[in-house]
Subunit: 463 residues, 2 copies
Amino acid sequence: MFKPETYSHRRNALRNELKGGIILFPGNTEAAFNYPANTYHFRQDSTFSYFFGINQPDLAGIMDLDNGNDILFGNDADMDDIIWMGPQPSIADRGRLAGIVHTKPLSGFEQYIKEALAGGRPVHFLPPYRGETKILLSAMLGIPVNELKAAASADLIRGIVMLRCIKSEEEVKEIEKMVDVAYLMHTTAMKMAHPGIVEQEIAGTVEGIALAKAGPVSFPVILSMDGQTLHNHYHGNTLTEGRMLVVDTGCESVETLYASDITRTVPVGGKFSRRQKEIYEIVLRANTEAIKAIKPGIPYRQIHLLAASVITEGLKELGLMKGDVEEAVKQGAHAMFFPHGLGHMLGMDVHDLENVGENFVGYDEETVRSEQFGTAFLRLGRKLQPGFVLTVEPGIYFIPALIDLWKAEGRCADFINFDKAETYKDFGGIRIEDDVLVTETGCRVLGTPIPKTVAEIEAMMAR
Amino acid sequence: MFKPETYSHRRNALRNELKGGIILFPGNTEAAFNYPANTYHFRQDSTFSYFFGINQPDLAGIMDLDNGNDILFGNDADMDDIIWMGPQPSIADRGRLAGIVHTKPLSGFEQYIKEALAGGRPVHFLPPYRGETKILLSAMLGIPVNELKAAASADLIRGIVMLRCIKSEEEVKEIEKMVDVAYLMHTTAMKMAHPGIVEQEIAGTVEGIALAKAGPVSFPVILSMDGQTLHNHYHGNTLTEGRMLVVDTGCESVETLYASDITRTVPVGGKFSRRQKEIYEIVLRANTEAIKAIKPGIPYRQIHLLAASVITEGLKELGLMKGDVEEAVKQGAHAMFFPHGLGHMLGMDVHDLENVGENFVGYDEETVRSEQFGTAFLRLGRKLQPGFVLTVEPGIYFIPALIDLWKAEGRCADFINFDKAETYKDFGGIRIEDDVLVTETGCRVLGTPIPKTVAEIEAMMAR
């Protein structure tokens, strides 16, 4: 946890953004794995953790905007809890750690809501994303489960987005620590990526490093020889010479929840072939050119389109694309090879605040989300501000089903050399991703540099 | 997965246990971690997996008892799925792998239920344990969420318990493979358990081995120098000389879900002190004497009480207990030191079938659950049958808060030497657990033997 003042400060800042009523912060409960008492690793709700700091189940918070009170709800441990879970701090002690003076038993949460509703006061809450929280809020608020999302408070969402998108120094430090653990995860994967090993061996080892050194992985490990599949969670392939391995992984702090999210792509066995190197250098150039261009005031969609241009230019040089680069990008031709966005906001969630809705986080009145295949998947499009932490993750993929579809439709045929693309159907995919802080004048790549150039990767894999 | 016939056979066996209507098998959905699209490792529902075999989200099954049809509901992948998740087998192909000929889109599940309800046919389902499944069933059946448990089918529960409690050879083989992975997990922990290392380092490494070699841990890793806390998930202590480390962990097959669950307790640094050895030998004797006594026809509660007697006898020799051993056990005096049950059924769930209710699994008309502190926590009390797989996990703990409470109350003062117990408040706890198959004539400890005697553990830790 940070100091109590950090949490008081955050709550006060939020208080200034809303007019009146009460704000609900239902903490997460344990999530059942295969029966009620056997649970996944407990994961606190990010917003609860941001404002109340305590990563324990069965807590809730209320900010009463009308009287200025912040209240933490939770139960003290009884003898059974002590036998099974060990001695626990009292709820009053937990509250003090978050700068809270008012604490009550958990049953008081429902009571407080009922009284506010009876008094006709506004009740602000975020859209719930877990079944148990939906059931709880539905019962307490008298709103059917499937209407909760629509009933969530847009004012609250806007206030929280504004605060959480700008990272303080202590937040950046936490993210940076997690990138340093990702360094270990990635360099270990590089050293293991030799022919004959099963992907699961590497994926499990990498996740074990996260758990040993930081906390859970910040999202399920993506690790595959079939890098053309963007979010591959199948880990059953045995690595073979001539293929590339995409590893997209990061971890989060078990204490503060801040996350890292890094991708590297390496040649199985440790040496890039000429064909691999040609594609790799294009993706690397897209990554480094994008990073160079990041600064406050520039819309991130512009950086995304810059990366798309670099990719189109490079693929044109190899004969995979053709025609006018600017026009090709305008028409979205690059998206057959680069069908996703350049990056997203990163913080206590790997896609920061995605639970409140992507468009509240990544877009605004000025920058409206594109509907074009490829750019439509860009999660962050709006103007950058100092304190944003975001990912830069261009990629080039040869997805057989997508090549077949576009070829059959003759889609962007003026810009794509389909015959040449056919010869890359066995290639897989390449993605290179860093975590970047927007500064006052430009940006800074966070954490210990993880091998990224062809030479650096080959050197690490030779160890 | 097993062969298609295995699943057909299981469904036919269940069909014979129920009279009519339809049986619902809602598969698990993805479980949200911190927002809807960022999920925990997918974990299929054990019962769905037992009868339908497919460990993918967003599937459901129905057995129609009136026309004999088994139907698998799920959707085929579209182009977006292929880009993000890779090519997927069709639902018809998935069905064939489980011996199913009737497959339909997922929307057909609700339709089928509605028609059955309209026709006044019985609809059998198990008590749901995940929020999302509760919401789904509640909407489809028109039963409020908090009434679903009471509306679950006792006939279905009894039929499934009967089938799943008796393990076939192929099931035992799966469990045994998981014990062999637990061997690696435990011997690695032993070699790491030296002064100066933080518990989290070992816990994360152990979980990484499970993920790399088998699948997820079958329950959150219990690993603590504070072994007196039975289910300790805090891993922040730095190991110090003179303490013991309890490691209670196992894994499950990502393919078939069968689990292992093993506990070992080792001296930090690798050498038992005299005091540690004295307590350790008592727990070990309780473990081995219990295993020797296991055979068909004997109630497991009797084995539990045998272990309690061995513990009482041993503690009496050390001067921690006193008086008549039989009477002490009858009055539950041992439970201050051994406050939990000797073991539980093990299978596709680490506490097998706990989602249907412990008493359906571990007790029957003949053997009713005890209400005495200690023995009340025994999950399995009824007569053993060949094919049961269960854990044997006696322990001795010195729980300061419990010693204080019993001493203050003068509870079982005729049998406990509280002054002596006071001197053990810094000891911690010891638990030793194996996984055992009940055979026709006795039992067999499953898997590669994991170091268990003082000599074996000291030898492994010296490596």
